[in-house]
Amino acid sequence: MSEPVLVAPGSDAYPVGLHDLEDAPPIWVLGELGPAPGVAVVGTRRCTRYGLDLAQAFGAAISRAGWSTVSGLARGVDTAAHRGCLRLSGHAVAVLGSGVDYCYPRENKVLYDRIVASGGAIVSEYPPGTPPDRWRFPARNRLIAAMSAAVVVVEAAVTGGALITARLGAEIGRPVFAVPGDVDREMSEGCNRLIRDGAHPVLGSADLIEELSLVIGPPARVTGTDHGIPSEGVAVSELPGLWSLTVTETLVKLGRLELEGKVRRLGDFVVPA
């Protein structure tokens, strides 16, 4: 594996967006930052399946558009966004609150390795060896916001890092997108408030890409599927509805698609292969 390198403000490799920060810090980078514009996908660690599905779909859609997905490698939304991005072999950037050699949370080590191996980057303003401390995370969030051309909040409570990222993003002029949710759900409240305060409501991954292309420019890549299974996957139990088939017909079609290698299972989910 490559060694972490220190990138100073003003150098060619330094992400342009970070100059928008008043205190633009030098950053440690493990892997490749890449030329593609980044989109931050952030949200709560305690997300619902709904949030996970969306984050994964957004990660996938953003990489399909040829952009880079920026997030924080935390549990929940962050993890799902990175996963969705990597599934389509997209460019993933994870900004950590610890040293770039310190994977936190530990269970994301596989994801961490995959990000580096797939040509993505692990970024931190703290020197290698720095342990994750609670107080470093809000500071890390300003890097996520500044490195990205836009911030997408998937699910968030009113307290929490995702809203900090959105606020910091808005302060330096980044457009903020938020997924509207039920008004009585704790994990929708943060997003709903962002929308009330002027964030763009996101109506789905296609809508997100459309809105983002107004900010970033047209997507570089577009692909589609013929079996109608979206890149974020669907639960097996939803397939009869999706395909308008009986249960038996659905199971037969699913089995065939699996045999043809067009879809695969992830637990109870079916995703395009």
Binding site: C47, Y50, V236, L254, G255, E258, G267
Partner: protein, 477 residues
């Protein structure tokens, strides 16, 4: 003076004749009992003495020695009372020797005969050896349904004595109670939505596959599992007897019911409770009480792993050997296993609306509580999601009786000749193996499930379509 009568002991889901040997000697009054009796059997001495006196018959005031042969077999319960009393009276020449008649029943102090759990055993022995049997009147009609048995019911010792004096062959045996229609718990029509789970249940019922249902609380896993016995064909004559004998060995009376057993042990059940145990005499566990029926293991991951793994032998062999100090007994244990589990300890992993509170490490630990070899036994793994309100409306799904008819027909076809795979289907499976979509064991399972699907559809040979559906049904937890 000596006489011998016959009674019955239930051993390992089967019956054994017990010879009750009675000797009346010349010494002073004494009552001895041998042949490994437990406390309940030993107390027969007091019950028999009082019952004989209450019936107005003289109890010999000499040395009475009773041996229950085979003497090395531990005896339990109160069902030997009647045979002991008749033996004593025959040995003291109060009544003529009864000849070969199987007798089972507990005596009350007033001389009345109460039903014992081995009554069914008496009827089975009667059918097997072609002799008559005498049981409590309250049990007679029920156990007379054992095919080939000749059962006489008595309500008191005096009545039994009168019957034997007159000659048992002079009387007509009790009529068998008509078998009741099997009763099922709830109808499948009550299960709304869940089309996939319903289909999986039907395929499982047709081919005898074990099913794992997983999903958040409130999805209807228990509701579905409870309806599996109902969609299986009712028990046949021999099966009903098998099941009744195992239940009787546990002291449970289910008569000759044709409904399939449904057992649902709690996760705090001990290993002995699950696979069988008992001290002195072997008692069947849940795996045997579920014989020919359904064993529903709810909250599977909450069971201690070592207890769950004890299910593997009965699953593999269809019977289980219980070895206790002094006794070893083998009980049948051929059952449908239905497992149910939450996706994670809090139950909401994967839920669309409620966040999961579990850390990933906790989730993977939770799954490891069910061992791989046991998970391998489940041919069908289905997610049961909580229902969206919209799914509850809509047309009525198939009812239990409709599904049972299809399953019964499929059973017949599978028994007659197991469907073979068409060339295309074989090719499809080979592709699946080559592309490592399926493992070798996976292919074996898909093959079995495809055969069941084929039998349900009444197609001659297993087609590509059946194999594809079987692959579609193969989920993972």
């Amino acid at each position: 003076m000596y006489a011998a009568t016959t009674s019955v002991a239930l051993v390992g889901g089967d019956v054994r004749g017990v010879e009750v040997q009675v000797h009346v000697g010349r010494q002073s009054e004494q009552f001895k009992l041998s042949g490994l009796p437990d406390t309940a059997v030993r107390e027969a001495k007091d019950r028999v003495r009082a019952a004989v006196a209450s019936s107005g018959i003289k109890f010999p005031n000499r040395t009475v020695t009773v041996n229950l042969a085979p003497a090395h077999l531990p005896k339990t319960g109160t069902d030997f009372d009647l045979a002991i009393a008749i033996g004593v009276l025959a040995a003291s020449r109060e009544i003529p020797h009864p000849g070969r008649v199987v007798m089972v029943g507990e005596l009350a102090l007033d001389g009345s005969v109460r039903r014992g759990s081995s009554s069914i055993g008496a009827a089975v022995l009667s059918a097997r050896s072609g002799v008559s049997c005498v049981v409590a009147r309250s049990a007679a009609a029920e156990v007379a349904a054992v095919p080939g048995s000749s059962v006489h019911g008595v309500s008191s010792l005096a009545e039994a004595v009168a019957l034997l004096r007159e000659g048992i062959d002079q009387r007509t045996p009790a009529d068998a109670k008509r078998a009741e229609e099997p009763e099922a718990f709830g109808d499948l029509v009550e299960v709304r939505g869940q089309p996939l789970a319903r289909r999986a249940l039907e395929v499982a019922a047709a081919g005898g596959h074990h099913v794992l249902l997983h999903g958040p609380p409130g999805g209807g896993k228990t509701m579905l599992a409870r309806r599996l016995p109902g969609i299986l064909p009712p028990l046949g004559d021999d099966e009903a007897v098998e099941v009744a004998l195992v239940h009787a060995a546990a002291g449970l009376n289910r008569g000759l019911s044709r409904s399939r057993p449904f057992r649902s042990p709690h996760h705090t059940a001990s290993r002995a409770g699950l696979v069988g145990g008992g001290s002195g005499v072997a008692v069947p566990g849940e795996v045997s009480l579920a014989h020919r029926g359904v064993l529903f293991v709810d909250e599977m991951a909450e069971f201690p792993r070592s207890n769950l793994d004890t299910l593997r032998q009965p699953l593999e062999d269809g019977r289980v050997t219980v070895a206790r100090r002094g006794v070893t007994a083998t009980f049948p244990s051929s059952f449908h296993l239905v497992g149910a589990t939450n996706p994670c300890p809090c139950g909401y992993l994967g839920d669309r609306r409620k966040p999961c509170e579990c850390r990933p490490a906790v989730v993977s630990r939770y799954r490891q509580r069910v061992s791989g070899p046991l998970l391998d036994r489940f041919d069908l793994v289905v997610k049961v999601d909580r229902l969206e309100a919209s799914a509850v409306s809509g047309p009525d799904p198939d009812s239990t009786s409709t599904v049972r008819d299809r399953v019964t027909a499929a059973h017949g076809r599978l028994v007659e000749d197991a469907p073979v795979l068409s060339g295309e289907a074989e090719k499809l499976l080979a592709t699946a193996l080559d592309s490592s979509l399926l493992t070798g064991r996976g292919v074996y399972r898909v093959r079995r499930v495809a055969a069941s699907i084929c039998a349900l559809a009444d197609d001659g040979a297993v087609t590509e379509e059946h194999v594809a559906e079987a692959i579609g049904l193969r989920g993972e937890w």
